[in-house]
Amino acid sequence: MEAIAQKIREAAAKLLSEGAVDCVIGYAKGTVPMRDYPYFAYTPEEAQNLTWSPFCTNNLANFLIRRTAGEVGKVAIVAQGCVSRSIVGLIKENQITREQVYILGVPSHGMVDRRKVEARFPLKTITEVLVDGEDLIVKGKGFEERIPQKEVRRSNCYTCVQRNPVIVDEVVAEDGPNDWGGNIDAVAAPWEKLEPLQRWAAFEETVKDCIRCYACRDACPLCYCHVCFVDESQPQWCGKGQDEADVATFHILRAFHCAGRCTDCGACESACPMGIKVRRFTSKIEKDVRQLYDYTPGLDLESTPPLSVYRPNDPQEFIK
């Protein structure tokens, strides 16, 4: 892990000192345990702050779109499998061009779900989490425990099918195994097996804590709409308050807008301050897209997204 971090620093410093890019977007060590954060290095010295760890849960592709538009020139970005897939998506949707971005490819070893670690220590405060090989050493007041990373990874990382970046300009670390052996279709759309009444109850239970901060949306590289439908006032599509129908509308429609686009990077769930399992909706959508259109988003630059093209054999049983 530290070896890769060192290679990222070296590659970034080289790019910046040669003037090949104006900025390298990577991760730096956070001020709280298990929260490494998006970092923008502009000089070879700043490149020394870059890191690589199991706590890099933000999708950096997010920072290639409007949020930094005009602020930086040519950018290099540290990209593992899911981030590179999001970049592919953004190129396909004409949000960025391939030439604008220089990709420093890194294989993903899977990121840790902070909440799974916290859940092991109810009401306790974790003060430090160290990475020791395949384990985490979790320290707090009056306790220290060793936890294998593989027990506390984010759910989306277990079923990842593309740990290695799909497009790369510079290989920082050699590709590893591309998946963990998890089967996404076995765990996606967990409510399909429930009865309709139970489904609604499960849905309500899932979104009950939502505070509508929109961190899920704002952390998502797909959610680049200038005015999101929830913010529209003319017409106003849904209420702005905490009524459960309005909260539900937000989650249902946001998920739907990601259809055929979501790469299951998990940034939404990692960003949510309330621990809402947003992937319970998006995983259903993507499962349908796989089954109905045989399509997985962000794997290559050539194929056409199914929702933007009409094919005579598109499934249409639902049209009556």
Partner: protein, 56 residues
């Protein structure tokens, strides 16, 4: 959309899709009648209902 709504527990039958040309007035009329009948048969919606009279 249909699948997603069913997935979260909205009863099937509240969302309908039809393909009607602007020239097919009769088909439009028939479809609207069919859809309204189908939705009426389901009764008032119980889920995703906002009631602003409720005291928060």
């Amino acid at each position: 959309m249909n699948n997603l709504l069913e997935y979260i527990g909205i009863e099937p039958g509240r969302l309908h899709f039809s393909w009607i040309s602007s020239a097919e007035a009769t088909k439009f009329q028939d479809t609207v009648i069919k859809v309204t009948d189908a939705v009426k048969a389901l009764g008032p919606a119980q889920r995703m209902v906002k009631d602003i009279r409720r005291v928060a």
